[in-house]
């Protein structure tokens, strides 16, 4: 009796063996051999590094309130700028791990309304209103990951609740939940997020909630399918025969074995989430003006489509650099996502 019990509690063997030696697994080997996937991975690693080291990369450009908030409890023997780029100083690591909200605000260099061309001091130039484009792009990477990871996490939780109950309990609940899911799924996500954000009121938090409320249907669908598959397996029947109750059955036996593909799909969605947030921000819905966010940086460029007479492309940098930042970011995610689909596609063997 004892041995059977412990057997039931173990994960199925297939799942256990696939996690061992993942580096040499067939799937990962195929992934490694795909050059486009590697390009995607390199791009994203670059963005992760930029986002992580944003305080260091912009050490000399931080706004006044950001400096004040960073300096809390610091003995000021060296300037903040020096401490910030010194890995031996605790503030180096504290700034990476946690940065105050004020640092996400792009400092204004002056109040000149016309954009300023790139120079040694401002390598990517200033937008109209003198927001530093370099600062906005660097901290924009940080806010992109912040928004992307948090929103995807909330969406995932919603998807697990809806898809999990639909797949696990089945019956009329499944029917109602999945029809509701289909309705939300069919709706254009940007438009629905726009509606939610308008009702909740304009702020970054509300926009994030709005995007999360739009993103869950695809997760619910995937999870429901996987749960139906797992639920039909023998070890679940075994656990039930041993008297496991529904909650335990769901949390310990079914869900852990059904989550695998969902986690991959969801993590590859981070790029799409960032894109939706940027699009809303471009439309003027979301964070306050000056928040380091690529969508808003591109929105700034809308006022500077034409240069002064005779120099039509004089303000190219206002739209080019933020645009490039977001295009490369999305490209990285898409290359990675494409490669994952290829790897998991049994037809792509040849």
């Amino acid at each position: 009796m004892d041995t059977t019990l412990s057997n039931v509690d173990n994960e199925p063997q297939a799942a256990a063996s696939s996690t061992k030696g993942w580096y040499n697994s067939k799937t990962f080997k195929r992934f490694r051999r795909n050059p486009l996937a590697l390009v995607g991975a390199v791009i994203l690693i670059f963005y992760v590094v930029v986002a992580a080291f944003a305080p260091q990369l912009t050490a000399g450009r931080l706004g006044r309130s950001c400096i004040r908030d960073l300096q809390a409890n610091r003995d000021a023997r060296a300037t903040l700028e020096q401490d910030l780029v010194n890995p031996l100083h605790p503030i180096f690591w504290r700034a990476i791990a946690w940065s105050p909200a004020s640092c996400f605000q792009v400092p204004r260099q002056s109040f000149i309304e016309v954009p300023t061309a790139p120079s040694r001091e401002y390598p990517l130039g200033l937008t109209g209103g003198s927001y530093d484009i370099y600062y906005g792009i660097i901290w924009g990477a940080r806010s992109a990951f912040y928004i992307g990871v948090l929103v995807t996490g909330i969406s995932l939780a919603l998807g697990i609740i809806v898809g999990g109950s639909a797949g696990f309990f089945g019956g009329w609940l499944d029917n109602i939940l999945m029809r509701f899911t289909d309705t939300v799924y069919a709706f254009p996500n940007l438009i629905l997020a726009m509606v939610f954000a308008t009702i909740f009121g304009p702020s970054l938090q509300n926009v994030m909630i709005a995007i999360a409320l739009v993103g869950w249907p695809s997760y619910a669908r995937i999870l429901r399918g996987d749960i139906l598959r797992v639920r039909a397996q023998d070890f679940v029947d075994g656990a039930r025969a041993l008297g496991a109750k529904s909650p335990r059955l769901f949390w310990k036996h079914v869900l852990p074995n059904a989550l695998g593909s969902l986690i991959v799909v969801a993590s590859l969605d981070i790029g799409a989430v960032v894109l939706t947030a940027a699009a809303l921000s471009f439309l003027g819905i979301g964070a306050d003006i000056g928040f380091a966010d690529w969508g808003q940086m591109i929105n700034f460029a809308r006022s500077w489509i034409q240069g002064p007479p005779g120099r039509p492309f004089a303000y190219w940098y206002v739209s080019f650099y933020p645009g490039l930042a977001i295009v490369l970011f999305v490209l990285g995610w898409n290359l990675l996502g494409d490669a994952f689909r290829d790897v998991n596609d049994p037809y792509s063997n040849n």
């Binding site: 309705t183 996500n189 308008t198 940027a278 591109i298 295009v327």
Partner: protein, 343 residues
């Protein structure tokens, strides 16, 4: 086939009901006074002494079911509230701006579908040749270009740099003429109205104004369809029936285009429902970039100005469009694949 259509048509009111419940549900997050603005018919009604009357009339301080009933009654009569951002009833603005958006979306659909299907076919049939590599790069780049970046870059390059194409729907001189009533616009579709009025100059002007928005939408949406077409045709080409058809000695084009491509179209049609929703997202952004006076740019500016009735009216309309589009996709699906009709 008839039973299939009836069954699908039955879904239409259900989905619209679900969306309307969500809309009225969302309204519950607001105070009755804020909610009242979603029911007013004119600017005057929004004045403070009239707000109470609206709250009473529509039962805005009563429970959800009463509110839903009264809201639905008003909506069925075509009253979706008053839009502050356009200073007229929501329904009037929708009627005025819908043709412009429809014109843009339809014109964009043609290149999206055409490009998607033909380039996708070419890529699959000439696998690993130049055309395949070209479409692969094109697809990845196109798919990665956010609408708002690509559209803005096009605008800056062509309009800002060389003064080509232009923003808005028509040039200023035509805007004046239309406002003065010297050109009739009975349908609201500018291209059609221009032809009806016999004004070729207006026709070409409107056409030029559509070039950049249509390109923006087509490149971003078409890339996806192209990739699905390619992989699904590759899939079909490896099937036994294709080999059989070839073994029978049928000409290559007949096998490729009649046997394989027709079957390969099924996933493409499935996708096109999703692609259409994606296109509507793009319409909102594209219209905003190009100052195109359609529903999308109106909804975006309404959202910024917290004009709730306008945004909700737009959402409801989007729901109707999506349901109808999915219905068309289903019908197309049934027409292409007899198995669906009989199941």
């Amino acid at each position: 086939m008839f039973a299939f259509i009836v069954r699908r048509l039955f879904m239409l009111p259900i989905v619209i009901f679900a969306v309307s419940v969500i809309i009225v549900g969302l309204l519950q997050l607001l105070s009755p006074i804020q909610r009242a603005s979603a029911f007013a018919r004119s600017e005057q009604q929004l004045r403070e002494d009239n707000i109470d009357a609206i709250i009473r009339q529509y039962g805005l301080d009563e429970n959800f079911f009463v509110q839903y009933g009264k809201w639905a009654g008003a909506a069925l009569q075509g009253n979706l509230g008053f839009s502050r951002s356009s200073s007229e009833p929501v329904m009037v603005t929708i009627r005025k701006r819908l043709p412009a958006s429809a014109e843009l979306a339809f014109l964009a659909l043609l290149p999206v579908i055409g490009m998607g299907i033909f380039l996708g076919t070419a890529a699959a049939l000439k696998r690993d040749t130049f055309i395949d590599q070209f479409t692969r790069v094109f697809a990845i780049v196109g798919w990665s270009l956010p609408t708002f970046v690509f559209g803005l870059w096009l605008l800056i390059f062509f309009y800002g740099g060389f003064g080509l194409f232009g923003i808005g729907r028509v040039s200023n001189r035509f805007v004046t003429e239309i406002a003065l009533g010297s050109i009739d616009t009975p349908t609201g579709f500018m291209l059609l109205d221009a032809l009806l009025a016999g004004r070729l100059d207006l026709f070409f002007d409107a056409l030029l104004h559509l070039v950049l928005p249509v390109t923006t939408l087509a490149v971003v949406s078409g890339a996806q369809i192209m990739r699905v077409m390619r992989s699904s045709l590759l899939d079909a080409l490896s099937q036994d029936y294709v080999r059989t058809a070839k073994a029978k000695g049928l000409p290559k084009d007949v096998v490729n285009l009649k046997h394989a491509r027709r079957n390969a179209l099924i996933p493409v049609i499935t996708l096109s429902g999703v692609a259409f929703a994606f296109l509507l997202n793009g319409v909102v952004v594209t219209e905003t970039i190009f100052n195109y006076p359609g529903l999308g740019s109106w909804a975006a500016s309404a959202a910024v100005q917290l004009d709730i009735p306008a945004v909700l009216g737009f959402a409801l309309l989007t729901a109707v469009i999506i349901v109808v589009a999915n219905l068309l996709v289903d019908l197309l699906y049934a027409a292409v694949d007899p198995r669906i009709r009989y199941s």
